[in-house]
Amino acid sequence: MDGIHDMGGMHGFGAIAREADEPVFHAEWERRVFALDLLVEAFVEGANIDAFRHAIERLEPATYLTVSYYEKWAFALEALLVDAGVVTRAEIAARITALEESGT
């Protein structure tokens, strides 16, 4: 798709910032998202590396440009699970609300 992800050759984004001694994961939740992706691609019908990449491409453009690398992964995992009928958008929203209300 002709989406925001296809940025090759675009101008205006500035230099790529390189982090010295960059860790594999910057937070525990990133490690968990990485593991969840392996599981989803191994076991969920229709999920594979290519469907995963396409799910990232389908992120809303402004979101794509502003969220972190593993946030993109997390959003893509949600999309694959919704597409496969494992969870619904309403269930995800309800869980977020419950976590916010519990102060977790």
Binding site: D2, G8, G9, L38, L39, N48, I49, D50, A51, H54
Partner: protein, 124 residues
């Protein structure tokens, strides 16, 4: 849903799952050195062909073998294994006078929707 044993995780993470498929009836249409033109396609679905290369002339650099075709596999269309090539583009082919003629850009492209013979393109 079966269990994924913890002992299997490290091998999967370190080696990755290969997209290579040994399909007996697949034949490479192109050989290294063949001139090709990247297709000018704009699918709403997934493609590994970047916009900046579409319609651009390149040369087959190497034949990788037969691999899962991401354009269909992403969309529920199955693996449809294709011959995968490394296609070499020059900087000025991609970027015109703003590119550098000595730069080379290598893009992995599959036969069916990504490339066609330059001769056929010239006939049109």
């Amino acid at each position: 849903m079966g269990a994924l044993p913890a002992a299997a995780i490290e091998a999967i993470v370190m080696a990755g799952g290969s997209a290579r498929r040994d399909v007996a009836d697949a034949q490479a249409r192109f050989k290294p050195g063949d001139a090709v033109v990247a297709c000018n396609i704009h699918p709403a679905g997934h493609t590994r062909l970047p916009r900046y290369a579409r319609g651009k002339r390149g040369v087959i650099d190497r034949v990788h073998g037969v691999f899962v075709f991401p354009d269909t596999n992403a969309m529920g269309g199955g693996e449809q294994p294709h011959t995968l090539y490394s296609v070499r583009f020059t900087g000025d082919a991609l970027w015109g006078a703003d590119g550098h003629a000595r730069d080379r850009c290598y893009i992995d492209l599959g036969t069916a929707t990504s490339t066609r013979h330059e001769r056929r393109a010239a006939d049109r």
